[in-house]
Amino acid sequence: MSATCHDTQDHVELKPEFVAHADELISHYPVSKRSASLPLLHFWQETHGYISNQAVEWIAGKLGLNPIQILELVTFYPMFRQHPAGKFQIKVCRTLSCQLGGAYELREHFMKKLGITKVDEHGLGISADGKFSVEFVECLASCGTAPVIMVNDDFYEGVSHTQADELLQKYN
């Protein structure tokens, strides 16, 4: 249960467009810049994949805060990743309908196929080549077609083990 952000990636050079958009986000909160903490964290994760130590310190600096105040947020929300996930992120729904529809077996299948044995504190497992990551998520809002998954932003319903294998081929 460590609070550290893993800096497995080299220091990221921030593009001018990134900085400009961040400034734009901050301008939405004229009363208290601190309110821009969450939007900036989301934007950083969308752009760079995960919240590194660099991200925490950069955002804190931008908002005139101390890094610990950003780290408090990052560690509160499991959806902020503190280390990189796979290039293709397989998110398996585990809420009731999908669970009944075989979501656990489906996740197990992905894990076996990808040779993933270890998961982090939030249940995220990454394949050895870093290409795929598998994790459970909560309801994806398609309970009639369980089990459902998302691969990055693509949505798949009623996923059988055969289809799962095909998806792994497709995203290669």
């Binding site: 249960m1 952000c5 890094p67 610990i68 105040q69 408090e72 560690t75 509160f76």
Partner: protein, 564 residues
């Protein structure tokens, strides 16, 4: 007020209007601006609390200070309904409220010990103890732990918890002087608020909020500021412990002696925690006019020299090249016999602004007996940087006193003393609590030219080795006396431990040396010396050591202006 607290919930302005408040059935008048915890305290009712601290912002997260409150019932005319007793009737709120974040108002009712309040406290205690390790036998906080105390006072007799406790990081090294045990932390956030509000060093925070909430420093940062150990004081449990004190002594064995810190001219009020003549720790003692409830780490940890191995324990005399132990009375007599043959111009005294007023007074008398102003005298000035919180730029605790008794010349005479010794004009040097070489900047070569070198110090050095007489004195924890801080406040030191070995309290050494050389004048005790001090200084007239009290007195501005 010399210490700027971010908040002072326990202090209201003198002109605050009084409000009528009912506390546990009794109507009392209390100044507006108090919260319920402080209001209850003023009428002798204690409301237990963990996160609330009178000098920090209110976070209201521990829920221990839950009370019942009510406001006056209003009639249709929007006027309070007056009951049979002539007092307003109170409409009680059916839910408990936190006392720390509730300000008193006109006609308010407070119940600090009703069945509902007692129930709430039991409940809060049960929750707090769910994940708290029961390692009290090896916990440094045991004996001064609020969780222990409130458990006895307000808790349950047994636990209903049968599940697995949450495990968190142990022995986390979060700073130069502090170790954190996260399992013991009850998440009151006092340390976070102290670091943020008092010292503006916001490195602490809660990560993993939820059932695994963890107090942490930001990776790569450390809780290393010069006030970090105050977080150990205000931590209600044993989560933050001092590396210097941990596992050294059970706190209930400590004898606490009220004194002052001699680390700089601020003169923070302290408690010396000692057991069997060993000082184990210094902790701040509340004095709103000096240090509030805080002290700096430098002052707090700057006492270990008392028990250093180099401590001189025996008066010695040098005969030719051998140094031999000598009886005190023999030393005084020998010094008298040797010093008599020198003219005042041949004698110099290096005193110290670390000496007490009583010692400085006696030193001034001794100087008068040796020839008065012709005897060159000075102290060693020490300057550092003021930090705007507690530390003074003057690192000597009694510069004001040294000036008052004309021992100090702001260090300007040090060069003349040096020249005098080097040119052979000065033959005798008496150095007290300053090392002639290390502190006063004389050369070993110059010292060797002296006919008579008398040192009165705590620690062995080259100077004490070559001194003709080495008189081992007492540390601040081993003596009584008074000092005047940078703001002109006269404060008392008290004796916590006995002087070790053959060492002697400095006022006694000076008293005996003076009596031997110039004859006595019936001063024997420290009280008598202080009385003589007070009689000779108009600013201190009428004072006695007992009148100075634990919190000190501001002496007339005349004395204060000397300090600047």
């Amino acid at each position: 007020m010399s210490c700027k607290n971010p908040f002072n919930h326990d202090i209201t302005p003198a002109d605050a209007p009084l409000l009528n408040v009912q506390v546990d059935g009794q109507w009392v008048q209390l100044p507006r601006g108090l919260n319920v915890v402080e209001a209850a305290k003023r009428v002798g009712k204690f409301i237990p609390h963990y996160c609330y601290h009178p000098k920090l912002s209110i976070s209201g997260n521990c829920r221990m200070c839950l009370i019942e409150m009510g406001t006056p019932k209003m009639g249709p005319d929007r006027k309070p309904i007056i009951g049979a007793d002539g007092k307003p009737e109170i409409g009680w709120i059916p839910r408990p409220q936190i006392g720390c974040a509730t300000m008193i108002s006109e006609g308010m009712g407070i119940r600090t010990d009703s069945p509902m309040v007692q129930d709430c406290r039991k409940g809060v205690m049960e929750f707090l103890l769910i994940n708290h390790p029961l390692d009290c036998p090896i916990c440094d906080q045991a004996g001064e732990c609020k969780l222990q105390e409130f458990s006895v006072e307000y808790g349950n007799e047994d636990s209903r918890f049968v599940e697995q406790k949450v495990h968190k990081p142990k022995q986390v090294d979060i700073g130069e002087r502090i170790v954190l045990d996260d399992e013991r932390c009850i998440m009151c956030s006092r340390c976070i608020r102290f670091s943020r509000e008092m010292v503006n060093d916001d490195v602490l925070g809660f990560t993993q909020r939820g059932s695994h909430t963890t107090l942490a420093v930001h990776p790569g940062k450390r809780l290393d500021n010069n006030y970090s150990l105050n977080t150990v004081d205000i931590c209600p449990v044993g989560a933050l412990t001092s590396k210097d004190f941990r596992f050294k002594m059970r706190v209930w064995f400590l004898k606490e002696t009220k004194s002052i810190c001699t680390g700089c001219a601020t003169g923070c009020n302290i408690l010396i925690g000692s057991r069997e003549n060993v000082v184990h720790r210094l902790t701040p003692r509340e004095n709103e006019l000096v240090n509030s409830e805080w002290m700096c780490d430098q002052g707090r940890l700057g006492f270990h020299y008392i028990h250093a191995e180099e401590r001189l324990l025996q008066p010695t005399a040098r005969v030719n090249s051998t140094t031999l132990p000598v009886a005190w009375d023999d030393a005084f007599a020998q010094i008298r016999d040797r010093i008599k043959s020198y003219k005042p111009e041949q004698i110099a005294i290096i005193g110290s602004a670390r000496m007490t007023n009583e010692e400085l007074f006696l030193l001034a008398e001794l100087r008068a007996g040796l020839g008065g102003n012709a005897v060159l005298t000075d102290v060693v000035p020490r300057t550092g940087e003021a930090d705007g919180i507690l530390r003074s730029a003057d690192l000597n605790p009694n510069t004001a006193g040294a000036k008052l008794f004309q021992i100090s010349n702001d260090g300007k005479n040090l060069a003349a003393i040096k020249d005098g010794i080097e040119s052979g004009r000065i033959k005798v040097l008496y150095a007290l609590h300053e090392d002639p070489v290390g502190d006063a900047g004389l050369s070993e070569f110059a010292l060797a030219k002296l006919d008579l070198l008398i040192t009165q110090k705590l620690l062995k050095s080259h100077s004490t080795d070559i001194a003709h007489f080495s008189l081992p004195g007492a540390s601040f924890a081993e003596k009584r006396g008074s000092m005047i801080n940078g703001a002109g406040r006269l404060q008392r030191l008290n004796k916590a431990i006995a002087t070790p070995g053959q060492t002697m309290d400095d006022f006694e050494i000076l008293l005996k040396l003076r009596s031997t050389i110039t004859g006595g004048n019936s001063l024997h005790t420290i009280e008598e010396v202080f009385k003589a001090v007070a009689a000779s200084i108009p600013a201190l007239s009428g004072l006695s050591l007992s009148k100075v009290g634990d919190l000190g007195v501001e002496v007339a501005p005349a004395a204060a202006t000397v300090t600047t």
